[in-house]
Symmetry: C2
Subunit: 246 residues, 2 copies
DNA sequence: CGCGATTTGTGCACGCCTTCACAAGCGCCT
DNA sequence: AGGCGCTTGTGAAGGCGTGCACAAATCGCG
């Protein structure tokens, strides 16, 4: 899975304001639904059934209906969901209507690619600051944005209203950067460095480790190989190779 | 969470061969333990307690013990785990002792970064083939490896013994590449393209969508903002802002 | 040799998530 | 107006994962 646990979710027993507290698993799927909905909107669809949207998002239709039911009743029985309305709803819930400002720290190999990744801008995020500790890189511009020294990070966070920090530094520098981000008031961090970050409660950290994903695949390759190349014996004893699916 | 479901896991009732079928959640954490163990080995530690390793990997110690118990008994009560032994065990389980050959398709913005990412090689993976459909890019070399046309993908998979394919193309091209990988015999795919891949049962697909992670963080930002900036009233009615933690 | 300190391995209970199955609701056609 | 087909929304059941708490096992020391 490759995600770090979320630091908080206060123990509010009954005083939830006007915000639905969705299951974490549902939240993680909303972006996928959103992408599928945008695709549908481009093809001119005005409504979509749970079955159709579920197929486009690669999930079970019952799961999709339960997920959407947590947001409220935005479907019409016998018809389906209004595509445009649902897009607005999900984007509101995800807070994407605010075009959040993002700081990217570390413009090495990976950071450089992230700085140029257009998937961010197209989904409501603006990378407004690039930072690095290497004097060699400071001053260069990527996609029209100058690379500043990491010492300026704190001031930039405040001045530019940055709410999310992305760490793409080597593992050794990540904790220090995280500390600076937190000190400057950032409460959401996306960490690409292969290390565990320690942050105070109330700060959310999500981790993406590209090598971990490969290792998980490697495990399944190993497992599959050991299943097919059985020494002698009970292969296919109970029939069906490919079950389930989805 | 950003993972696609695994296509298979046959319905083998009782005939599992000589391979432990670990819980999926455990598998996903093994790479993290492995990284922590390598760090410990470099500092000269010969043994480590579950508490110590859990802290280094950012998880609960009970969870760690349960995870490791699934692999067998490799710890000594009163002492801890033998670092070197545990590294060997986990690497064997993950199939990392085979230095798997990986094909990378799509050397655009992100693909270029992946091709140069040294985190792969250091964890037992060799990128042995780069492919792209753009004639502009074919022929160039990245890290000493030439970019070949995607038409050669099928032959290269067979000749070079490639077992894992990484897709870093635009969304529109991803399904076609996946089909070619599967046709050539690849059964594990890591997909960076923002789309759902359809593959036959028995093929594992894992998905990484960088923008999705940001959107999940955005949700939590939105939630936190709506909690602190309550219109009038019941803030702090029930005390503790920061609970749990982990 | 025995005892206490330490740490692993695990039984158990709890909570979250998924999935099925179906009632309730909506629109369309006659 | 009435009925029929289609689709949503949800109650309930089952499975999986987590974390506590403790018994079992090992080491070191007197």
């Amino acid at each position: 899975m490759s995600q770090q646990r979320h630091g908080n979710t206060p123990g509010n027993a009954g005083a939830v304001p006007a915000f639905p507290d969705l299951p974490e698993a549902t939240i993680a799927r909303l972006p996928e639904y959103l992408r599928a909905l945008h695709n549908l909107a481009e093809t001119g669809s005005e409504t979509v059934s749970s079955e159709g949207l579920a197929a486009a998002a690669g999930v079970n239709s019952a799961k999709l209906r339960k997920d959407l039911s947590h947001l409220g009743s935005y479907g019409t029985r016998g018809v389906g969901y209004d595509v445009a309305l649902l897009i607005d709803q999900i984007e509101y819930i995800l807070g994407l209507d605010q075009r959040r400002a993002v700081a990217l720290v570390g413009v090495g190999n990976l950071g450089h690619a992230l700085a140029g990744y257009d998937g961010f801008a197209s989904r409501g995020f603006r990378i407004v600051g690039l930072f690095d500790a290497d004097a060699e890189r400071v001053g260069k511009t990527i996609n029209g944005l100058p690379v500043r020294h990491v010492d300026e990070l704190g001031r930039a966070v405040v001045e530019d209203g940055i709410t999310i920090g992305v760490i793409a530094t080597p593992a050794g520098a990540a904790q220090g950067v995280a500390d600076e981000l937190v000190a400057a008031g950032v409460t959401s961090i996306l960490n690409f460095a292969p290390c565990v970050l320690s942050v105070p409660a109330g700060v959310d950290v999500r981790k993406v480790d590209l090598a971990i994903e490969l290792q998980i695949l490697s495990f399944h390759e190993h497992r599959k190989a050991s299943l097919t190349a059985l020494p002698g014996g009970r292969v296919g004893e109970n029939g069906n190779q490919e079950a389930v699916g989805s």
